[in-house]
Symmetry: C2
Subunit: 510 residues, 2 copies
């Protein structure tokens, strides 16, 4: 056989090496860049066309991110479109589900969606699941952020098509959670980056079609199949609401101040330390009370991790936090900073919290401050179900960070609206007591008996430490011991640990 | 079965859903960040220990990058260590092989290495292969940069262990081709990023162990298994030598000026255009002659792509090139710029040149200027073998960019040291004539008959256009028609097109 320039090529040699011969001469597109951007094969005029182009079929798994939190429009838009197009039996695997996703109830009723995977669930949708007003064909699978990222990376969670809202992208798909105009930005696209990397097909939805090349980008064009310009992907003002609000509640601030004192005394507060504050008003507020001490003592943090707030940005810009590592921006100021500050960097869900990789950032955490809906006398924490047994929260990065941080501080009021938060038994096990070190409430602090050295340091600093049993007793003394919940027979949710194994199940409520 | 908090869990439900129960309570590491960085599991004291830790076995494939070009130390250090440790039958798959890699001859002779995959080969190693002074068990497989990146991504080239030299990384493996000190930087790690993403195991070698977190990073810690600090990874002064030198040769400059005039007249030079200059003195010099015209006419390029030089950086900093997209930094100034200029961004080999992905940057190229060792009268180009048939070059991004750019300009002297460069038949087919549009030599220009509209524009601009046959005749008139080469029987190299299919074979020389 002879090639294009007349050289002899032995077909047997090629066959032995598993190679094929290049048959036809290559052809080229002679259109200019400007012309190509007008008629490239990725930019499609509608979501329907993009859905068709992906080859999506009934029964497949579609994914979403929750960087817009309660302000997300994308999930509802895509699922309502799928319903209209007649799709059935889809699995919705979102990085989380929020109050925004009530419309899913209707699309589960009509059979468009029959399975859910998420970090959590809230509002109308969660209510309907817990009360069995709707039925999924399998219990909802609930994963931590790190658990989800590693499940995607190792193939446990296979995504057929990811639908990802982005604050800007070019016609080829180079995408970012920010844009030059500062309009409808979500900041970090940390969770979405994992979907983009591993999903079979990726559709980006954006309001803001940017000039090529839209770089630096969080999601590269090579990970993207289709781009659709839409009127709106989300209301960014809703990102900093609910669990990510800036609290002015005096009790939250009291708890935060107390937690800051405990951290300062714990042995883990010193120059070059690292810190993460989880969602929840009191948890996010802790850094406000560390700031003064850091200034006074000349202490800087090597990095702050996680969901990033304006408070962390302020400390970064003041030089108190060297590097900000951001998997999710909790407010508009964080989104602005990740765009403008070179020391505020974006990481994806695996770089944040892969449980199996020592290189993920959670493995370098000194201190994490996390909220709780309930904590039991073994320090087990529930952040997913309410005292009524109904789903009303999200696992988030709770067990990921609690397991890896050298010091895990749980902040919670003792009593929340006549409901005790320190209890004999949590309604749902999200984070194991073996990794929760200190509980800070509005009426006192308890230290896990596994950490006697920490308790000792707190006492030396003049802090009063109670046992967690005392805190429970105080709670029960005020509001009484809660009655045992009556659950239904049906398991509606399965809670997995970061490593993917099952920690607990959630039953329907009666 | 009951879980840790006493909730009933049905093993059958878990089994049906393919889930396992989380058995033992999680434990945590209570060491501080500073302590953890001292004794983490990734940072190993020697290359030998890292090799052992990877589980590397005889017959496996190891990979390297060539960002240090002739200044690379890593490949020789690793292969000599493997030889000392008794490894046999390894495949070395480097993004390229250069004059630095003469020592491989000895390690092929002793059986440590028996297969090679590369973009090219030069010097003592290439000589020994072509002259059969050493024998591989299979012909060397030669791939373009885009072809290699996509072969890695699609599994055709499976890398067992990647050994990657980086200008800085922290103890967990967050790595960069730059560092704060500016010492031994290679700039972009574009080719290495693909290896890091897809290799089973990744070992980083660095002189500069940076503070955690070493961000922004090109290779994230989650893609890295082991880190070894070594005395030296390369001599960065050697990056801008050879094919990436800054030419002062008058003939190179004459060709470059002529090519610039052709580009200006071609219809592809206008505000918002995009451009890449390939390696080789004349090719890299073309932008020096476009700069004045761009200033005079108020033309800016939307982006410059590829191997990036100080000339491109200068134009970027002057506002003439909006964005610089860098897969490989061709000199120290480019390395400095990729660190310091937000508009100078790094991309990996797939984002650069994946042949299968419309989102790769080559698909958005208006103009590319490329060198040639030989070009035949059908515009087929050889950049790999010399007129003596001996391997002495590299495919690089030649066919990737030539195939995708709207206008592909080949620059070459008519005659190089008594050897004609325009010939009847190329010794080796690297880039098909069907995608090479314009040839610019020191004695005239020829336009591929497939592009009559380009020829017409050049003529309208007052440029004299010859046929490529005329150029060949002029070359032969001066130095005579070259004698037909006498090749040996043995195929020593296989040349693949960007899509992985075979274009040509390279035979041993007699």
């Amino acid at each position: 056989m002879k090639n294009q320039v007349g050289h002899e090529i032995d077909p047997k040699l090629l066959k032995d090496m598993g190679l094929e011969y290049h048959k036809d001469a290559s052809e080229k597109d002679t259109a200019t860049l400007k012309e190509r951007l007008q008629h490239n094969g990725k930019l499609l005029p509608s979501l329907e066309e993009a859905i068709r182009a992906t080859g999506l079929k009934d029964g497949m798994t579609i994914s979403f991110h929750h960087h817009f939190r309660d302000g997300d429009y994308v999930l509802n838009d895509v699922v309502s479109t799928l319903s209209r197009m007649g799709y059935k039996n889809m699995t919705v695997a979102s990085s989380s589900l929020s109050n925004a996703h009530g419309p899913l109830v209707q699309y589960i009723k009509d059979g468009t969606v029959t399975r859910l995977q998420s970090s959590g669930c809230r509002g109308k949708l969660a209510d309907a699941i817990s009360k069995r007003e709707i039925e999924l064909v399998e219990p909802m699978i609930l994963r931590s952020h790190g658990g989800r990222a590693s499940a995607i990376a190792n193939g446990t969670l296979h995504i057929d098509v990811a639908f990802l809202g982005v604050a800007s992208c070019d016609a080829l798909g180079n995408a970012s959670g920010t844009n030059a105009e500062g309009k409808d930005m979500c900041g970090s696209l940390g969770y979405a980056m994992v979907d983009a990397r591993y999903a079979d097909k990726v559709v980006l939805l954006t309001e803001n079609l940017a000039q090529y090349p839209n770089v630096p980008c969080s999601i590269p064009a090579t990970d993207v199949d289709y781009v659709v310009q839409v009127p709106a992907i989300g209301d960014s003002s809703q990102i900093s609401s609910g669990a990510t609000r800036y609290t002015k509640n005096p009790r939250d601030l009291l708890i935060a101040e107390s937690a800051a004192k405990a951290i300062i005394a714990s042995g883990y507060f010193g120059d070059g330390f690292s810190i993460q504050t989880g969602s929840g008003g009191a948890a996010l507020a802790v850094t406000r009370f560390l700031e003064g001490e850091m200034q006074d003592k000349g202490i800087t943090a090597d990095f702050a991790l996680g969901g990033i707030t304006s408070q962390i940005v302020k400390m970064h810009e003041a030089g108190l936090v060297k590097t900000v590592i951001d998997v999710q921006s909790f407010d508009g100021e964080a989104a602005r900073s990740i765009r403008d500050n070179p020391g505020h960097v974006e990481i994806d869900g695996n770089q944040y919290a892969s449980p199996f990789n020592e290189g993920s950032a959670i493995h370098q955490l000194d201190v994490v401050i996390l909220s709780a809906l309930e904590i039991d006398t073994d320090f087990n924490v529930n952040v997913l179900t309410g005292s009524d047994g109904i789903i009303r929260g999200a696992i988030g990065g709770h067990p990921d960070t609690a397991t890896c941080a050298a010091l895990t501080v749980i902040v919670s009021p003792l009593i929340r609206g006549r409901i005790p938060c320190v209890v004999d038994h949590v309604g749902c096990l999200i984070t194991e007591g073996s990794v929760c070190d200190v509980l800070v409430t509005d009426v006192g602090i308890a230290v896990n008996p596994r950490r006697p050295e920490v308790e000792e340091r707190l006492r030396k600093a003049g802090m009063k430490v109670k046992t967690i049993g005392q805190l429970r007793d105080e709670a029960y003394a005020v509001v009484g011991k809660p009655e045992e919940l009556k659950f239904g027979d049906k398991v509606v949710g399965i809670v997995t640990a970061p490593d993917g194994a099952v920690l607990d199940v959630i039953r329907s409520v009666k």
